[in-house]
């Protein structure tokens, strides 16, 4: 994938998305029975609601009659009713009622998307329904683990989703963007960085050894000594990441899985393209410390939200500049290994989908 292709994609000129994947559509608690939720995904308007059993339903957000968004309508039992002329649709997408007429044309049908709920998210499959496997949804078990706490955010960001993934696969940026909380200079200057392909995607591990703890670490990890610090990002393309962040007393074997005074938190990320230039970002920090100190936990959460706010400011500023200078070349640096592998992983999925589509076209061609 060359620079030009990636620039065009980031600027929204080439809106290619991996379709055969589970994308996070909403936090579970954003979706109720009282009203439907509009949710544009991959450039397609989607409406979400819960049927009478509470199961999530995802449909094309468009009445076949006058293109009114169904999200402006009402939930009626298991059905959704258009707010304009009252057409009703079942969770299969089939129109089952047209007020004032007994017959319903067979074409009165909208697209239905597979939807599942897991670990506090509602996931929607945007590709070929036949390939949707509920068991393949990304797992974030810490979200609901006993004794664990969390803080979370759903942000709508004015940027291409790739910028978010790039950010999370190169955490040297903490030294500059988050210098007042989780960052310290050594994260950029002296880190041991390894990027590898894994069974499910890409892992970037960063270790900084025997360094003064960053402010947040000193405060909540209660270190009065140097630490060994890890940042392990696991990316499952196209859209989910888990990052383990932690530290232990320097020189106590943290890299070998031991370590004294270990302190760790796990961040769950689901990054869903809304359009080529906008993104819905679901972010949660989970941890098993602080159960005994509500005040400290609240302050830790405040710092986490400060950090994510700084990142969001970066994303929107990048997108603006990208659109101003779509043809300027991008400089590659050593720490790009993670983002680059991340982009290649997405690219492989995209290529796979293109090949499959081409094969189908050929088949059709041969059989006719």
């Amino acid at each position: 994938m060359n620079d030009r292709v990636s620039s065009r994609r980031l600027c929204g000129e080439d809106a290619s998305f991996v379709r055969n994947a589970w994308y996070a559509a909403a936090w579970s608690d954003e979706l109720g029975r009282d009203k439907p939720l509009a949710c544009m995904m991959l450039g397609e308007p989607v409406v979400l609601y819960r049927d009478a059993s509470g199961a999530p339903v995802a449909l094309e957000d468009r009445c076949v009659h006058r293109s009114m968004p169904l999200s402006l309508g009402r939930i009626r039992g298991d059905l959704i009713e258009c707010g304009y002329h009252g057409l009703q649709y079942a969770s299969s997408g089939r129109c089952v009622k047209i007020p004032g007429q007994p017959s319903i044309p067979r074409t009165a049908c909208i697209r239905s998307y597979p939807a599942v709920e897991q670990d506090g998210f509602v996931w929607v499959w945007m590709g070929d329904s036949a390939r949707a496997d509920g068991a393949a949804v990304a797992r974030f078990p810490w979200m609901k683990r006993a004794g664990w706490q969390k803080t979370s955010l759903h942000a709508h960001i004015g940027c291409n989703y790739q910028l978010v993934i790039d950010n999370l696969l190169d955490l040297s940026h903490l030294a500059f963007v988050h210098a007042s909380t989780v960052g310290s200079p050594e994260l950029a200057d002296d880190a041991i960085v390894e990027t590898q392909r894994t069974e499910t995607g890409v892992r970037t591990s960063r270790w900084t050894l025997d360094v003064a703890p960053a402010m947040t670490y000193a405060q909540f990890g209660r270190y009065d000594c140097n630490v060994d610090r890890w940042q392990i990002t696991d990316f499952t393309p196209p859209c989910t990441l888990v990052i383990r962040n932690g530290a232990a007393k320097a020189g106590t074997g943290a890299r070998e899985g031991r370590g004294e005074q270990r302190w760790e938190f796990i961040v769950c990320h689901a990054v869903t393209p809304e359009t080529a230039r906008t993104t819905n970002y679901f972010w949660a920090v989970t941890h098993d410390f602080g159960g005994d100190d509500a005040e400290a936990t609240a302050e830790f959460h405040r710092q986490c939200h400060h950090v994510i706010g700084e990142d969001i400011a970066v994303f929107t500023a990048q997108q603006r500049t990208l659109e101003l200078t779509p043809n300027a070349p991008l400089l590659g640096i050593r720490y790009d290994q993670g983002p680059l592998q991340g982009r290649l992983a997405i690219e492989r999925l995209l290529a796979g989908e293109r090949d499959a589509a081409q094969a189908r076209t050929l088949e059709t061609h041969v059989s006719t």
Binding site: F176, V177, A191, Q318, T321, A328, L330, L331, Y335
Partner: protein, 365 residues
Amino acid sequence: MFVRNAWYAAGFSDEFGQALTARTYLCEAVVLYRTRDGVPVAFEDRCAHRRLPLSMGRLVDDRVECGYHGLVYDCTGTCVKIPGQPNASIPPGAKVRSYPVNDRHGYLWIWMGDPALADPATIPDFGKLEQPGTARHRIRLHLQCHFQLVVDNLLDLSHLAYVHATTTGNASLAEDAVVKTVRHADTVEIKRWVRNVPPSRTFVDFGGYQGRVNLWQVSQYAAPTYIHVSYGSSDAGVPMTEEADIWRHGQWGFDVFHGLTPESERTTHQFRYVGYDPTFGDAAAIDEFLRQCDQIINEDREIFIVQQQALDSDPRGLSARDVRSDAPIHADQGLAIARRIYEQRLNDEAATAGRSQHRLAAQGA
């Protein structure tokens, strides 16, 4: 599309110091600062790596550190540090575009075109602002309009009669004025004068007139966007000739200089200085005079906004530059010439760019 090979006002000189300022000129995002020695620096406001605006970073020892991954740029826009990798491994192409800048006449000027052509001698002569005895008052506006609408406005001052009726305007400026328009190579000069008319309010307030007056205004335009307007007046009883008086303020007057810099096709930076002789009144009178000056520029701003809105909602998709008045009036003569001068500069630049591309292609073959 804009004339690029020109000095544009980046702002007032003292707006820039040892801090990073982000501004957009001609649709290009620029970051500006001064080194500890006061030397102005301007380069592209984007990191070559991931395009974060460099203005979101920090100024460290006269260099700019990107706020994302810490790449450092020196004042030529060359990347001199990439954290986590040795300096020897910095690719030679790791730089961002830098722009020539120059302080003069209270403005910082920036050259948005080919740096090889940036000749400080072509900075407009606003030297009158720096003459001894001249006081300066300035205002900076961000206008929601194409710059052409502002140039049009300043080159047809008949609008004073309607837009600025409570200050400098007077019906006779539109009805009875003699207007003389003269084109020199890249400039046009529009003189407008009326004799023996009742003074408008500003002239009563600060010129101290009791009876009727002579009034004149001279607008000078130089491509691409430099404008100087001189206002003068005298008692109606004083004989007034174009040649002798029109270049002076007469008994009372002032000068206005406009640095206009397109930000985008729909927005413009306006940096205006009013130059005046502060001996005409006490501090309260001067305050009131300057208040009237700022009222005037804000009255114009309201006009620009609605003009641009009307253009934007035109189904033909017009830009301010496409618009020739559907009904040309006599007073349009000067601004029509200014538009032609600007077009000529645009065409010349396109031809030069075409020639150099041709030359490059020929060399390549």
